[in-house]
Symmetry: C2
Subunit: 276 residues, 2 copies
C-alpha cells in the first residue's frame, strides 16, 4: 500500500461510508478537495498560469461530475511564489474565474499565502439528488470508459523530455462530459474519473467491490497506464447498454465497453504515474 | 495592498457578501479553508508532527467559531515529504483525529500527495443559525479582545532564534473559546480571530465598517503586532457590557475592553507578521 492510501486509511474506520470516494457525500451535498501542486502535478514551464488555474479547477470539478453531483461553490487555497507580479495573479484569477463561469460555480472563499512554489488546493461543494459511488459494481456489469486514452501519457512523456505539446492537449485542457454523464446516471452502477490511469482505477473498483474483470480485448499499458485523462470509467447492467449508447451518440461521446465484472480480483501493473 | 489581499479582491466583485470573511456563508452552512504550510506557518523543528496537525485543525476551527458556527466536517489536503515513515503519518493522523474528536468534527475526505515539504490545507464545514461577520461594527460599540496578547510574538521570536518554548505555548497550542463565544453571540455586533495581530485585524474592521477607534489606553506593538494568537476580537453595544462580562466570568475568559468605535479610519503599523 502506498503512503497516500495508508494515510487515507487512518480515517476510514470511523467514517466508512463517506471517505475514500472522490467526494464525500453529506445529505444532498458532495464535498471534494484536491491538491494541484507545482512539481507534483505540473511544472510551470509546461503551461501558462491561466492554464494551470483552469486545470486545477477542472480536475476538482471532475470529481463532482462522476458522482453525479452539480458543482455549486468553490474555495481556493493558493500558495503563491514571492516573485509573482500582479499580472501573474491576474492570469491565475482569470483561469479560475473562466472555469467557474463555464460550470456555473461561485468562488466563495479560500486562502492566499506566500510560498516557494505555486501550490493550489480547491474544495468544490456540489449538490446531488442521487450520488454515484465507486461502490456499486455488480457481477456481470459491463465496464466502460469514455473517449480516447493514451494521449496524456504520451504528452506527459514529451513534456518531461522538454518537448512541446499541442495547446489542445487533454493533458493541458482536460475535457469533461457533464451533460452526458448526468443523463446516463440513472443507468450507472458505479463510476470514477480516470486520474491515475485506467488500470489503477480498475484496481480501486476491484478492491472496493470485491470483483474482478474479464477483458474483451487486451489493453496496452500505453492506454491502461495513462493518467490525468479525466475520462469517466463506469459500469452498468448489460440491459442498459442500448440506452447508454444512444445518449452517448447524442452527446458525441465515444464509449469503450471493454470488460465484464466477474468473481475474482484485479491487479494492475503500472508504475506509479506521478512524475516526481 | 499586499499580494494576498490583491488576489482575493479579484473574486470580490462578483460575490461581495460571502467572500472576505474567515468563512463563506451559504444558507446555514459556513465554509472556511486555510493553508498551514511548512516554512510559511511553521518550521518542522518547532513542533512535533502531532502538534502541527493539531494546530492546522485549530486555526481552521477558529474561523468557524468567530462566525458563531459549529464545525461539523473537515476535508484535509496534505502534501507529505517523501521521506516520511508510516510512524510519521500515524502521528499526523493522530493529531488531526484528536482535535476532530475534541470538537465533534468528522473528517470526511481530502487528498494526499507526495511533496518536498509538509503543506496542509483544511476545509471546515460548519453550521450556524446566526452568523457573525467582520461587518456589523456600529459607532460607539466597545471593542474587546479575549485573553492575553503578546506571548505568541515572543515565542515566535524565540523559535526563530533557535530557542525552545514551553510545550504549553499558545503559539504551539492555540486555545479556542467556543462555549464562551457561542453564549455571547446574541450580544456581539462583529467578530474575527486574531491571526495576523490585533492591529492588523483592527485595520480590517476599520476598512470593512468605515469606522475608526478611540483607544482607552495605549497598546504596545508587542501586544498589537502579535500574530497567531487566535484570541477573539469582537464589538458590542455598550448596553451589553454587563451581560458579556458575566458570561466571560462564568467561562473564566479574560476580557480586554480597549477601544470605542468612532468616525474615522484606523491604520496599524506592524510589519507583516509572516516570518519568511
Amino acid at each position: 500500500m502506498n503512503k497516500e492510501d495508508y494515510f487515507i486509511k487512518q480515517f476510514k474506520n470511523t467514517h466508512k461510508n463517506i471517505i475514500g470516494d472522490d467526494g464525500a457525500v453529506v445529505g444532498s451535498h458532495v464535498y471534494s478537495m484536491d491538491a494541484f501542486f507545482e512539481n507534483v502535478h505540473f511544472k510551470r514551464e509546461w503551461m501558462s498560469l491561466k492554464e494551470i488555474a483552469r486545470k486545477a479547477m477542472i480536475v476538482n470539478i471532475s470529481d463532482a461530475i462522476v458522482m453525479n453531483a452539480i458543482p455549486k461553490y468553490a474555495l481556493i487555497s493558493i500558495a503563491i511564489p514571492k516573485d509573482f507580479s500582479k499580472d501573474d495573479l491576474d492570469e491565475l484569477a482569470k483561469g479560475f474565474k473562466s472555469i467557474a463561469k463555464k460550470f456555473g460555480i461561485k468562488i466563495i472563499g479560500g486562502d492566499t499565502i506566500s510560498n516557494i512554489k505555486l501550490d493550489i488546493s480547491i474544495t468544490i461543494i456540489s449538490k446531488t439528488k442521487k450520488p454515484i459511488f465507486r461502490k456499486g459494481l455488480k457481477k456481470d456489469d459491463f465496464l466502460c470508459f469514455t473517449g480516447e486514452l493514451g494521449t496524456c501519457k504520451k504528452d506527459l512523456e514529451s513534456l518531461l523530455q522538454g518537448k512541446e505539446v499541442s495547446k489542445k492537449s487533454k493533458f493541458i485542457k482536460p475535457k469533461l462530459k457533464p451533460e452526458f454523464f448526468y443523463e446516463i446516471s440513472p443507468y450507472v452502477n458505479c463510476a470514477l474519473d480516470i486520474s491515475d490511469g485506467l488500470f489503477f482505477e480498475l484496481e480501486r473498483l476491484s478492491e472496493t467491490n470485491n470483483l474482478g474483470f474479464e477483458f474483451f480485448d487486451k489493453i496496452s499499458k500505453d492506454i491502461g497506464c495513462s493518467g490525468e485523462e479525466y475520462e469517466i470509467l463506469f459500469s452498468f447492467s448489460q440491459k442498459n447498454r442500448d440506452v447508454i449508447s444512444k445518449i452517448a451518440k447524442k452527446h458525441e461521446v465515444k464509449l469503450n465497453i471493454f470488460a465484464k465484472a466477474v468473481d475474482g480480483t484485479y491487479k494492475g501493473d503500472c508504475k506509479n504515474h506521478h512524475f516526481n
